[in-house]
Amino acid sequence: MGGIHPKENKFSAGKKIIVAELPKQVVIPLSHYIGTPSEAVVKKGDLVKAGQLIGKANGFISANVHASVSGKVSKVDVQLDATGYRRPAVFIDVEGDEWLEGIDCCSELIRECTLSTEEIKKRIQDAGIVGLGGATFPAHVKLSPPPGKKADCLIINAVECESYLTNDHALMLEKGEEIMVGIGITMKVLDVKKAYIGIENNKPDAIDHLGKLAKNYPGVEIVPLKVRYPQGGEKQLIDAIIRRQVPSGRIPIEVGAVVQNVGTIFAIYEAVQKNKPMVERVITVTGKSAPNPGNYWVRVGTMLAEVAEVSGGVPADTGKIVGGGPMMGRSFMTLDIPTAKGSAGILYIKREEALRKPIKNCIRCTKCVTVCPMGLEPFLLMNQSERNMWPEMEANRTMDCIECGSCSYTCPSNRPLLDYIRFGKTTVGGIIRNRVTVKK
């Protein structure tokens, strides 16, 4: 239901992924977007090899952190991240490119996987794999359904519904075989017989390529989808492909589906078949004014300023630089922050287009209600948020909001709907959490 179709602007589509040069220093964040930060297991002066564990997961919803380069640890200190706060990180001065023993660095395809389900899950957990769809949720948690719940199908999210971003597209074209093997491994872990790969039909080359490969993998079906934002949202994708709706407040496993991003699947292949932890990813550098829109393999911890340099530098008329897509990406306050596992793109927006327009009154046109993919009433939620009406917001299911931004995009009065709804979500979320603690 709902959704919008912003201009796709996929300037970097079909471009071969360029391997970015190794930087002189990397700063690897120990904290993640979701969950508890990891604990450093190295200290100043330690020599590390690429792929070596430098941060241990702290708790169930946390992930291991590995060195993405070889070199010497110069310090374990705080580093500014995209939110403007300084958080613990490991600083490594790069020396050479030596990988830890046991990691297979060659690019030969390995099809067979003889490991048991438990061994595969352990490798995924040890490799620190987090979802590369944007939320960076630890993969081993998603692949371990709670007792009593079983998945009956795996859904691969290759939709890439955000405008401008093309990293998943490029990955599918270049690493199609590896992705297929990865899907097979994930199906084994979940014990499912069917997998669907959802791809929007603005990527016909990827649909063809994977379609041909899927013939050798029984149970894997390519599902071409109409282009619509936010079809890449988990719940939206499940509805689009297998026509099941996840009930309000619940997670996909309740309807028997597990969704994984195609980039995460590739990382699972590397972790299980090559013993390689998650230390690099594809980043799209793009924008109407970008000198060389393209996709780059970047090691985690590389400063974003360096990635921008590699791709031709920041254009002069840039008003905002957004991390990710234009809908859900967060504007950067500086490029002196490191690439995290979840960084998907650097988007340059021209000054004229970047500034917000003046806010006008709500005219009750209900365009926002029509586009909301979760069936909410954004104009009402913003109204209630302005008046601090928290119980009413909870009753109107504000916690179901996936923060896609379709409402703010469509509003003819330029009302900042999502900002106020997010404010409501934070406050109501806090109230709900306090309720649970008191009950105990």
Binding site: A82, Y85, R86, M333, T334, R356, D419, Y420
Partner: protein, 305 residues
Amino acid sequence: MPRLYSFFCPFLINIKMNIIVIALITLGVIAAVSAVILFFVAKKFHVFEDPRIDEVEEALPAANCGGCGFPGCRGFANACVSADSLEKLNCPVGGNETMKKVADILGKVAVETAPTVAVVRCGGTCDHRPRTSDYDGVKHCFIAHNLYSGESGCSYGCLGLGDCEVSCEFDAIHINPVSKLPEVDEEKCTSCGACVKACPKLLIELRKKGPKSRRIYVSCRNEERGPIAKKNCEVSCIACGKCEKVCPHEAITISNNLAFIHDDKCKLCRKCVEVCPTNAIVELNFPPRKVKMEEPLTPKVELVS
């Protein structure tokens, strides 16, 4: 309808029945019957309220600000009447005067509390704390706070978007457009606590007003290490410890790289203000210090033969 009336009032048969008269009589009857029913219902379902609640409510300032912790002045009056003692009950707007009146009405003892006032614990003006980014979103502190740390390098500092100003019902706090920090009008501040709750960075504190409205406090909430704090704001607390050492009344404690002056122990001697290397400690409403006049230097005269 006319038939009904003609049954009861035969003399009306001959007069042409005017619709207006019918309407008037009908409504009049309904009104009279309803009035009688309501009278009896009101008597039967009357809620007994202690008449003292009304008296106490009269004595309160009628600001309905919630500063006492109860829903409005009536809620507070209710609490006062039903409580055993007035110990934990205090109206910050009315102060000790009002509590004395309430105590007299109820025959209880009013507990004197020291008056408090709101204090903004951030000194990061545009001069002291350079801005490193330009926030273009909704001008609302909580929304900006939800998005990122703020326009400067100090993630604890005031965002300057005025949630505190909007929350104040007494017009007592305003954002200074030059310094972009909130300023409290002591005469108007009733210490109700609305601004304390409104600030997402927890910068505002209710502190003792002090004798002659004098108070001393650390105007910083930065918990990062000294060098990092100082780099982002000239007047930040760097937790050097000088204030803690010099305080003769043990009123200052340092934890999480931040000094805090406890107002129950502070005797306003101002020694900490003198030693603070970054001027993070602020003294309010004190007379200017006497500057020691230096002896004029006698110039050395060279003897010329």
